[in-house]
């Protein structure tokens, strides 16, 4: 009893280092697939048109807006989300710094900021304030005014 005239697509991908397969409508975004099919609700929807960064994930080593990626495009790729940042040994230094520097208030944009900031520090170990602000410009925050977020990323870069 569904309006769908198209068949679901089989996607085989790796999420947070773990191989996964799922069926998904071809028109479903990677964001919706992560939240509704795979059940990882850490990645958030803020605008669904690539303008706020709350849905940022790491796709094959590049940070992207998962709302503007079609789920079938994840075939054979590596997707890393907020749920993959901490390890059994504990929080990622960025997560720890966000806590200690009070770099979040409501927290809805925090997953996007953390995955984006990790994308920066993974290939630029010691970025200056301007570089951090430029890299994070694709992530909107309405509560903090970005100040403590920038300081937290600087602190994590030194950790």
């Amino acid at each position: 009893m569904t309006t769908k005239t198209v068949r679901n697509v089989h996607v085989r991908t790796t999420i947070n280092g773990q191989e996964m397969e799922f069926l998904v409508p071809p028109y479903m975004s990677l964001l919706d697939a992560l939240r509704e099919v795979v059940g990882l609700t850490g990645t958030k929807e803020g605008c669904n048109d690539g303008n706020c960064g709350a849905c940022t994930v790491d796709l094959d080593g590049r940070i992207v807006d998962s709302c503007l990626v079609l789920a079938p495009e994840a075939e054979g790729k590596e997707v890393n989300t907020i749920e993959g940042m901490a390890t059994p040994q504990g929080l990622h230094p960025l997560q720890q710094a966000f806590l200690e520097e009070a770099a979040l208030q409501c927290g809805i944009c925090t997953p996007g900021f953390l995955v984006a900031a990790k994308g920066l520090l993974d290939n630029e170990p010691d970025p200056d304030e301007h570089r951090i602000r430029h890299w994070l410009a694709g992530n909107l925050c309405r509560c903090t005014g970005y100040d403590k977020i920038v300081r937290a990323v600087e602190k994590a870069a030194k950790a």
Binding site: E19, G39, L40, A86, P88, G90
Partner: protein, 761 residues
């Protein structure tokens, strides 16, 4: 000092039959039980259990499992810290934390078939099961100890060579008897000398299981802050918290147990098996881990009621008085000390006022799963023995079996064998009710088709528990009262507790909205067991409601501009003592609280040292087919002193449920063990619990002798109904066949053999 209450009669809510508050969710399938929990990132855990009943564990190799795709983590006892060697109260007796940890996962020895040896967490349930199979364990099998006799034999292999048993106060090493004690009153030898008839019989019972339909389950998540969140169907969320904290050696407040519905426990879900394992797997895998036992594991790996051997010797004088009695009780503790022998010792002769009594009890280790509480733990086993000896005495003396029990019945002031004297109890009233009952006064016709019919009667006792409970209340603008209480609700206690608050507040049962929050959101509340929930948590609700009324009185006073002392409250109406004009119903006042101050809230907690004992008398008619030995119960009446039935329908439910479990225990249920200590019938097919077809309607007669310790006279009702059935059914079989069967279960095979023996075959 303990408050004494004069029971009031004109109760408006207590005694009615409202629909339970969680009813709609339960009948529509929406209620969430432990196995229904879904959490983002969830993976599955599974355990590997020992195939041997007794073996040294030489090595465990998890490498094959670790290498398997989809496996996140494996675990052995090495992953558990060395727990403290201290005892913790699990609500129905004490448990040693260090031994408890070894029961959760074996360290150097497997002590029963099914003992957990290792565990694995994987992406889904099937992968976890496959991975568990790949864990290689090197065992050195040891000789098996199957029962109390084998355990106490001279050359018996020792389960715990390092253990010292407390035998009558002395520490004895090199034994499987973990504990031996004695209660004595007066001089039994002299009593027996004054006896005209002495009957001395020995009875044996097998291990049986509580048989709850919901499988043990637990989901745990160990986060980066070293905080653990647990979802598990349990009789006591705070119990899960304290036992898991003890086993993992972390602070209790770092564990939060979330409430989920529980699918039956009967004492078997007061002890944790899975939560500590799921928690450690979660820590190693950094994922939430869910574990659900399969039915075989529930039989072989969770706590059954102890089997054992009971000798009872009773002497009576010709005038129908019991002069002296002796009992020697030996229970199978299972692989670790701590069976229900001490409770059994309190109950074995509790129904009788006997001047001279000696009771010996032994807690004996055997290579079987560690026993746990099963509904009035110990009392059914001892009643199977003592009620048959009493039955035999009456048969041989030709005395009326009710009259004899009446004349020897315990009542207020009777001293129990282990010391305390009974406060106000209702055994006499219950026996009188039995004598006046339609069942007792309807003669048993002969069956037309050659079947043998018989009727049996037996009594039973349970002391009930008090303990700690907390209840918070807050009033909403339209007069509805929201209640938070900490007791898991198995049989409708949300309703029975809400009703007691509603009674005090003068509002309807459905004007109180009970909810059961997690362990972070309510004060400590003990286990839902010991028949204590309606009694103790109800008492806390009564106090919280009383405090709420006091606060509302001061608000009414503020509203009317009079002195709080001036405000009176009765039948749900606030009124001014001086000005008759000023009158407000509870709901009307609630709607006008705005401006009189913040929201009206109250909180109360209790720790009740005593509860108020309860007695039961059951009458059983049954039919035995001599050719096949098959027994069918054709009429059954359960009578019980309930003090005050808060919700009569749910009290009847407890009486009927207990009776049926007792019938099953007597006729068919047993752990059928092989020589190697392996349970052969660990499935619902061969572990025969009664089906609807095996039973008639269970008639119930509630006797209300108010318990002075409780504002509404409530006594615990849930456990005592399991005590009488073993005796009642056994006596009925004897009445039908003329043969007394002293070894439970009295299954068809034993009846046919017994009849053949009887007829000299």
């Amino acid at each position: 000092m303990v408050a004494i209450y004069e029971p009031t009669q004109d109760l408006k809510v207590v005694g009615t039959r409202p629909i339970r508050h969680d009813g709609y969710d339960k009948v529509t399938g929406r209620a969430l039980y432990g196995a229904d929990v879904k959490v983002p990132g969830l993976i599955w855990g599974e355990v590997l259990r020992s195939p041997h009943a007794h073996a040294r564990i030489k090595s465990i190799d998890t490498s094959a499992a670790d290498a398997m795709p989809g496996v996140f983590a494996t675990m052995t006892h090495a992953d558990l810290p060395m727990a403290e060697d201290k005892d913790v109260d699990v609500g129905e007796g004490m448990v040693n934390v260090r031994r408890h940890a070894v029961n959760v996962m074996a360290d150097d020895k497997a002590l029963y078939k099914g003992h957990v040896v290792a565990a694995v967490a994987a992406i889904d349930r099937n992968t976890a099961q496959e991975a568990a199979r790949r864990i290689e364990v090197e065992y050195e099998p040891l000789p098996v100890v199957n029962n109390v006799d084998e355990a106490m034999a001279e050359d018996a292999p020792l389960l715990h060579p390092d253990m010292h048993g407390n035998h009558l106060g002395q520490q004895i090493g090199g034994t499987n008897v973990a504990g031996q004690f004695r209660h004595q009153l007066g001089d039994p030898e002299q009593g027996f000398a004054e006896s005209d008839l002495i009957v001395d019989r020995t009875f044996t019972l097998p291990m049986v299981h509580q048989g709850y339909i919901e499988l043990h389950n637990a989901t745990a998540f160990w986060d980066e802050e070293d905080r653990i969140t647990i979802w598990s169907s349990t009789q006591g969320a705070f119990g899960v918290r304290s036992q898991t904290a003890g086993i993992l050696k972390i602070d209790e407040s770092n564990i939060k147990v979330n409430p989920v519905e529980i699918g039956g426990g009967f004492g078997g879900k007061t002890v944790v098996y899975l939560p500590p394992v799921a928690a450690v797997l979660s820590k190693k895998a950094h994922r939430p881990v869910k574990m659900v036992m399969d039915r075989t594991s529930v039989f072989e790996g969770s706590g059954p009621a102890p089997g054992g051997k009971i000798r009872v010797k009773i002497g009576v004088s010709n005038d129908g008085k019991i002069k002296a009695a002796e009992a020697d009780i030996r229970f199978e503790a299972g692989a670790f000390p701590g069976s229900a022998v001490s409770a059994g010792a309190l109950c074995v002769l509790a129904c009788y006022d006997i001047p001279h009594v000696r009771i010996d009890g032994r807690d004996v280790l055997v290579n079987k799963p560690k026993s746990a509480a099963y509904r009035a733990p110990g009392s059914p086993q001892v009643a199977f023995a003592s009620e048959q000896v009493v039955d035999e005495i009456c048969d041989r003396m030709g005395w009326d079996k009710l009259q004899f029990r009446l004349e020897n019945a315990s009542k207020q002031g009777t001293r129990r064998a282990d010391g305390p004297t009974f406060a106000r109890v209702g055994l006499v009233e219950t026996l009188e009710a039995a004598r006046a009952s339609d069942h007792w006064n309807t003669p048993l016709e002969k069956s037309g088709d050659g079947k043998l019919r018989g009727r049996g009667i037996a009594s039973g006792y349970w002391m009930n528990g008090g303990g700690k409970s907390t209840c918070d209340l807050s009033v909403s603008d339209d007069g509805i009262v929201f209640m938070n209480e900490g007791s898991a609700d198995i049989g409708g206690t949300r309703a029975s507790i809400a009703m007691q608050a509603a009674e005090v507040l003068g509002i309807g049962a459905h004007d109180v909205r009970p909810s059961i929050p997690d362990t972070d959101s309510i004060g400590f509340t003990g286990v839902t067991g010991g028949s204590r929930t309606t009694y103790a948590t109800g008492y806390a609700a009564y106090q919280a409601a009383t405090e709420l009324i006091e606060k509302l009185k001061s608000r009414a006073a503020a509203l009317w501009g009079i002195d709080p002392e001036e405000v009176d409250f009765s039948d749900g109406v606030f009124s001014s003592k001086s000005d008759p004009e000023l009158k407000l119903g509870f709901k009307d006042l609630a709607r006008r609280l705005d401006g009189t101050g913040g929201p009206v809230t109250s909180t109360a907690s209790v720790d009740l040292a005593e509860a108020g004992n309860s007695f039961a008398v059951h009458i059983c008619d049954l039919e035995v087919d001599p050719n096949t030995g098959k027994t069918d119960v054709i009429r059954y009446t359960a009578l019980q002193d309930v003090g005050k039935a808060v919700h009569p329908a749910y009290v009847e439910g407890q009486m009927q449920g207990g009776a049926v479990q007792g019938i099953g225990w007597t006729l068919n249920e047993e752990y059928f063990m092989t020589e190697e200590g392996v349970m052969a019938n660990s499935s619902f097919l061969d572990y025969r619990m009664p089906t609807s077809l095996d039973l008639p309607m269970i008639d119930t007669i509630m006797v209300e002798v108010p318990n002075p310790l409780h504002p509404f006279g409530v006594r615990g009702v849930a456990e005592v109904p399991l005590a009488p059935p073993l005796g009642a059914v056994a006596n009925a079989v004897t009445d039908a066949t003329g043969t007394r069967f002293t070894d439970a279960p009295i299954n068809p095979g034993k009846i046919v053999a017994g009849l053949a023996h009887e007829n000299g075959a």
